[in-house]
Amino acid sequence: MNTATLYGLMTAGLIGIGLFGLIMHCTALRKLLSFNLVAAGVLLLFGVAAQRGAGAGFPGDPVPQAMVITGIVVAFAASALAVALLLRLLDVEREDDAP
């Protein structure tokens, strides 16, 4: 089994665990963490594509690596937005509960 296949299987594992978490967990924070696992798996898939598509003598195709970096930034921004909404929701619920 070469490294590309190994990473491909890891991708499948990450996405599978993430999807399981998304479906089974109820709270928003757990769903967000599961989304991060799915995103990690998907970006690893880009890495697999980078390694398989490498030109002669190069360790990896640089275009998917650029896409991975963009994807990481986008997923980070999305997680930040979700956490901000969650924190605000908890604050508002605490205010509503307080007399």
Binding site: I15, L22, A28, K31, L32, F35, V38, A39, V42, L43, L45, F46, V48, A49, R52, G53, D61, V63, P64, M67, T70, G71, V74, A77, A78, L81, A82, L85, L86, R88, L89, V92, E93, D96
Partner: protein, 493 residues
């Protein structure tokens, strides 16, 4: 055609984006002034693009930095994209005017939280929409979809209450999972072909399992963002909880952009799709129409009813896939009918949400059963609501009528009777929920109903939106040549 005229594409994208940066960077008297300052030039750019595309009968394109694909990025406005950009510009302008009532920065302060957030997010949404309509490679489209999601989600929870925050969080999670599936498809396509640009992929796409899986993943992810059954659960609370101008923009424009991408993926990238896949999409659309129209009939609150109606009308869009199967799909009635449904539903739904907002302001609540007296308090709004309802029901003269007649004609011509039956049934159900509201609104108010009159100038806006939906009804009932511009060739100019 490229070069100087192509720079208009960049202007359409960057003018709203510079507005947001300026709002944060430069202290302004009021952010809405900046938004209204940037609206005319962006509208002019968008209209100029549409006129150039129409006159030259070819798509307008621009390569960023002069580097051509696959390494560079290309922006391209074809007929359908240019028409949708004009629609977005008009709706955002009118909804922005209507938002001046609720989101004007108070006197004495230079900025306040809610108005600042609203105007910044509106400009961000416009920039992201234009990028979705113009981008030509799959990864730029991913970035555009994320921009659109990040601009739309905070609009849902502008009032800061717990229920809208929960709705916004649910919307964000659905949208993010959709993006993850889309990105998975993009990774598979890159792994298979080594390129992501539409023009290149159109040439090298093969019919094999990897491609089919990738396109299925991408369309599945985009379906979650378009809110079709069964992944529509996020939409009703989100659109109903948002303030009326935000709901108008969300229902009219934000869910249409991922659908436009599904259309592009289906017809440009994977035109060899078979009947089972098309019928599956149409079946999901049909279930959307019937189930959500029935749910709309049972709603207690007006805005929730309109939100369920949005999901139902979006189902009509998915009926176009089995009706546009041919070698030249842009010449079928199904294509024109589906795109016309996008435009007419956008205007009608925006009119409905703005009118519902004004009615709720006049009466102080939006319970449908207690709407008696609304026709006296906000007559023009109720009239605009009724006109918009014509488009949802599919009654002439309205854009909705033309769209549905074209879809029915396409269904009958290709002998797919069940689609025609579903469209007609959806029209009857739409009539049910629209007339229910109109009937209650026309009733005389009893004693003790507190009415705040709404200024007529503000009521003119939903009327203008509803009249746009009506005017679209005067187009001829045949495939439009304009929507076919830029379709047949896909080769890089």
């Amino acid at each position: 055609m490229s070069g100087d005229a192509g720079f208009l594409l960049v202007l359409a994208l960057m003018l709203p984006a510079t507005g947001i940066v300026a709002m944060f960077a430069a202290p302004m008297r009021a952010p809405e002034r900046l938004a209204f300052l940037l609206y005319p030039p962006t509208l002019a750019a968008v209209v100029a693009i549409a006129v150039i595309v129409g006159r030259s009968e070819a798509a307008l394109s621009y390569t960023l930095g002069g580097w051509s694909p696959p390494l560079g990025l290309m922006l391209r406005a074809d007929g359908a994209g240019a028409a949708l950009m004009v629609m977005s510009a008009v709706i955002i302008g009118l909804v922005g005017l209507s938002a001046l009532g609720a989101f004007r920065t108070p006197e004495g302060t230079s900025e306040a939280r809610q108005p600042f957030a609203f105007w910044a997010l509106l400009l961000a949404l416009w920039s992201a929409l234009n990028l979705v309509f113009l981008a030509q490679d799959l990864f730029t489209l991913f970035v555009a979809l994320e921009l659109l999601t990040f601009a739309a989600v905070p609009m849902v929870c502008l009032n800061g209450k717990a229920d809208t925050l929960q709705a916004a969080l649910r919307y964000l999670l659905f949208a993010l999972v959709g993006s993850a599936f889309y990105l998975m498809g993009v990774a598979l396509i890159y792994g298979a072909y080594g390129a992501l640009d539409f023009a290149i992929l159109r040439v090298v796409m093969r019919e094999d399992a990897a491609t089919a899986l990738a396109v299925a993943l991408m369309i599945g992810g985009l379906m979650a963002k378009t809110a079709v059954f069964p992944v529509h659960l996020w939409l009703p609370p989100a659109h109903a909880g948002a303030p009326p101008p935000a709901s108008a923009v969300l229902s009219a424009l934000v869910i249409k952009a991922p659908f436009f991408l599904i259309v592009r993926l289906w017809f440009d990238l994977a035109p060899y799709h078979g009947a089972p896949a098309a019928n599956l999409l149409a079946a999901l659309g049909a279930v959307s129409i019937l189930s959500c129209s029935l749910l709309a009939l049972r709603q207690v609150r007006l805005k929730l009813m309109i939100a369920y109606s949005t999901v139902a009308q979006v189902g009509y869009l998915f009926l176009m896939f089995p009706l546009a199967t041919s070698d030249m799909p842009w010449e079928t009635l199904g294509w024109s009918g589906g795109l016309l449904q996008i435009v007419s539903h956008a205007f009608a739904k925006a009119a409905m949400f703005v009118a519902a907002g004004l009615i709720a302001e006049a009466l102080g609540h939006d319970r449908i059963d207690d709407l008696a007296g609304a026709a006296r308090a906000a007559p023009v709004s109720v009239f605009a609501f009724a006109l918009a309802g014509l488009s949802l029901m599919g009654l002439p003269p309205s854009g909705g009528f033309n769209a549905k007649v074209m879809l029915i004609s396409g269904a009958v011509a290709t002998e797919q009777w069940w689609i025609a039956v579903v469209i007609l049934a959806g029209g009857i159900l739409a009539a049910g929920y629209v007339f229910r509201v109109i009937g209650k609104a026309m009733a005389d108010a009893g004693e003790g109903v507190a009415i705040t009159p709404v200024p007529r100038s503000r009521e003119a806006i939903p009327l203008a939106l509803a009249l746009c939906a009506l005017v679209i009804g005067f187009v001829p009932l045949q495939p439009f040549a304009y929507l076919a511009i830029g379709r047949s060739t896909g080769v890089m100019p």
